[in-house]
């Protein structure tokens, strides 16, 4: 099964009158056999491995594209082009429909999903799928279709999607699908957070059932050497150390271990990470638009305004350090709700 169908019927959603040129396929990753020695697989046992991407994605953009705290928040295409705005919003949309798309809503949703993928897997890969008219073949729209990065392999400069045999046979698919590099959009972590893999590797080892197992093993022993409280404290210290560069604290304040000042400092570090991630995603998205736009005879870029910036974080850190601002007011500056 080496041949790849020229046209795989994409999930057409509401666009049944278009033909998609999608190459990648979707399948449940759990069906994929674990491959030995693969660096794309992580032993995701700990709870932090799932909560870290979720927390990050919730902080990256206002939920639903609206923010009461951020009256100036705006997502736009510059220069403005209403028709292309609908095409871009539709391309980013997770759910497709016949009525008009709200660009801010779709962009925010996309950032949530993309941010979660980057933080969980180190990369987020999307395929640019053209939607052409069935009869004329004219390009009318496009979609960004997510590909599970764990299904991808790079061989001799070419990227392949690996489909498990069972799934491939059942759906009459090849087990190796070559993907065109120029149709892929690859979102990476910001350069300032290049150690995201290390962070994830450490998080996978934390927050697991080890504490419970140790407790169970020793609870009936008299004069037991084991101190569950110290174990929990050590785990939290390890969590804090592993996430030092990104400031994430596992959804806890950790004030039982650290001073409030330091927890607020970490919060600002986390804001810096999230803003860097947002900027990295935006930059990649705009590079994608630079590639796609000419096909629609448009040259527009996405712009996001009214959200905290890296300069805001730097200023807040200075003010926090000098004791010039109340803690609450510093926190208020970064809320997206």
């Amino acid at each position: 099964m080496s041949a790849v169908p020229r046209q795989i019927k994409a999930k057409m959603r509401s666009r049944n009158n278009f033909v998609a040129d999608q190459q990648s396929v979707w399948f449940p990753f759990e069906k994929l056999q674990k491959r030995s020695g693969g660096d794309s697989l992580l032993e995701l046992e700990g709870i932090y491995s799932s909560t870290f991407p979720r927390d990050t994605s919730l902080h990256i953009m206002p939920i639903g594209g609206r923010s009461r705290a951020r009256k100036e928040f705006k997502v736009s295409l510059e220069p403005e082009d209403e028709e292309f705005e609908q095409i871009v919003a539709g391309a980013l949309a997770d759910q497709h429909h016949d009525y008009a798309y709200q660009l801010a809503h779709e962009v925010c949703d996309f950032f949530h999903h993309c941010g979660a993928r980057i933080t969980e897997y180190g990369k987020a890969v999307y395929e640019i799928v053209s939607l052409n008219e069935a009869d004329t073949g004219k390009l009318r729209s496009f979609e960004l279709v997510p590909i599970d990065v764990r299904t991808l392999e790079k061989r001799h400069g070419k990227i392949f999607q690996i489909v498990p045999l069972e799934w491939a046979e059942k759906h009459e698919l090849p087990t190796n699908i070559p993907l065109q590099n120029d149709r892929l959009v690859i979102f990476s972590p910001p350069p300032t957070c290049s150690n995201l893999d290390e962070v994830n590797a450490a998080l996978a080892q934390l927050g697991s059932g080890r504490i419970l197992r140790m407790y169970s093993a020793t609870r009936n022993r008299t004069n037991s050497f084991y101190d569950a409280k110290e174990h929990i404290r050590a785990e939290k210290l390890a969590l804090a150390a592993a996430t030092r560069t990104i400031g994430w604290t596992g959804g806890e304040t950790l004030t039982e271990i650290f001073l409030e000042y330091y927890t607020l400092h970490r919060r600002l570090v986390f804001e810096r990470f999230v803003i860097s991630l947002r900027e990295a995603i935006l930059q990649t998205l705009n590079e994608m638009l630079d590639r796609v736009g000419p096909r629609f005879e448009v040259q527009s870029r996405l712009q996001i305004s009214g959200l905290p910036t890296l300069e805001d974080v730097a200023a807040a850190m200075n003010e926090l350090c000098a004791g010039e601002r109340t803690f609450n007011s510093i926190l208020d500056d970064f809320t997206l709700l």
Binding site: A240, L259, G323, T326, F327
Partner: protein, 390 residues
């Protein structure tokens, strides 16, 4: 290092906790991120909390441990026990009153360390603390007034302190300051027993000192009588000054005392003679110092109210009366330097009752009487001129 700072236990616990947190921070970051000012603020907050809890605890102890037992002792007439408690509690109140301003300055200094205002801070209600101490103090004075006459009857012993003299001294001072504060209730309840006790004290001292030099005996034994006459004079002045009923309490007490005598002029003559003798006597027993304190306080109060000018300032004519009362005007005119509060009582209460008697009044009282009479005549003349002019 924190152990060499000799911090109170509560603050040291906080310092230990902060130190542990900083070590954890260093473990994670390989350096300490938290700045020094934040640590100082946390410690200062703990210090303020420590000070507050101690002040509150001390006052609570005062109320619960000492004051709560007083009513039972008073009811059972266990006056020595009551006197011991009153004596200790008054000392404690005095120390708290004296140190509270210093503590407040210390807390204000710690407050200056507070850099970020939304970090929880401990607030101290100084007014409430002060009021609590004053309330306890008042209770103590009322209790002292109730047992003072009975204490005089307990024979002295080397096994316990001289409680009568101690409580008498406290009460005499409180009588003066209750007037200065305008506390009619306290004065009404403390002056009559103090009056009775001063008579008893005078008799007791004369008995105790009968074998001593007569000059010394008179100087020491007349102290309580001089106190009560001075307080009577201040009662008159404070009543004029603030429109309070202190002087009414005083005259009623004197009237009640004098009705017990077949010849009521007798005690008044004795008091006058004593004061006349003491005015020219340079011997200065302890009670004289106490009365000097009252006089200085009264002067300060008048000066604070703008009634009395600087006593060392140049003479200037007072164009406008500083107070409607002729007595206060007289004080403002002459100053209190050479006047004794007792003279006002002698002029107003004693002189009319000893009219025609062969009595020599202290020269200060005579001067005051002349001055008041001159002022009265002058005022009457001015009034007549005004009426003629009309």
């Amino acid at each position: 290092m924190i152990y060499s700072a000799q911090l109170p236990r509560a603050v040291l616990s906080e310092a230990e906790s902060i130190s542990k947190s900083l070590r954890a921070e260093e473990l994670v970051e390989k350096r300490v991120i938290t700045p020094e000012w934040y640590v100082s603020q946390l410690l200062a907050r703990q210090f303020v909390d420590f000070i507050k809890s101690n002040c509150v605890t001390l006052i609570a102890e005062l109320e619960q441990t000492l004051i709560s037992k007083l009513p039972d002792y008073q009811k059972a007439h266990r006056d020595l026990f009551a006197a011991q408690i009153i004596s200790s509690a008054i000392e404690m109140c005095g120390k708290l009153r004296a140190h509270l301003p210093t503590i407040r300055v210390c807390v204000d200094g710690l407050d200056a360390v507070r850099k970020v205002r939304d970090i929880p801070w401990v607030e101290i209600d100084w007014k409430a603390l002060g009021e609590k101490i004053e309330a306890v103090h008042k209770k103590l004075m009322l209790a002292a007034a109730s047992i003072l006459p009975r204490l005089e009857q307990i024979p002295g012993s080397r096994h316990w302190p001289e409680y009568f003299g101690q409580l008498y001294s406290f009460l005499a001072r409180e009588s003066f300051f209750s007037m200065a504060r305008g506390d009619e209730e306290l004065f009404t309840k403390t002056f009559p027993p103090l009056f009775a006790s001063s008579i008893l004290a005078n008799q007791k001292l004369r008995e105790q000192l009968k074998d001593r030099d007569s000059r010394m005996m008179l100087a020491w034994s007349s102290g309580p009588i001089e106190d009560i006459v001075a307080l009577s004079g201040y009662a008159m002045l404070f009543s004029e000054l603030d429109g309070k009923a202190f002087y009414e309490v005083v005259t009623k007490t004197w009237d009640a005392y004098l009705t017990g005598f077949e010849d009521p002029t007798g005690p008044l003559k004795a008091v006058t003679a004593t004061l006349e003798y003491r005015t020219g006597d340079f011997f200065m027993p302890a009670r004289d110092l106490e009365r000097t304190t009252w006089q200085q306080n009264f002067e300060r109060l008048l000066r604070d109210r703008g009634i009395l000018q600087d006593r060392y300032g140049s003479f200037r004519r007072i164009e406008k009366p500083v107070h409607p009362s002729p007595l206060i005007q007289e004080v403002a005119r002459a100053g209190m330097m050479m006047e004794h509060a007792a003279d006002f009582f002698l002029v107003d209460y004693v002189m009319p009752r000893l009219k025609g008697a062969d009595v020599t009044y202290p020269y200060t009282a005579r001067n005051l009487a002349r001055s008041l009479s001159r002022n009265e005549r002058s005022a009457t003349a001015d009034k007549s001129k005004d009426e003629i002019a009309k």
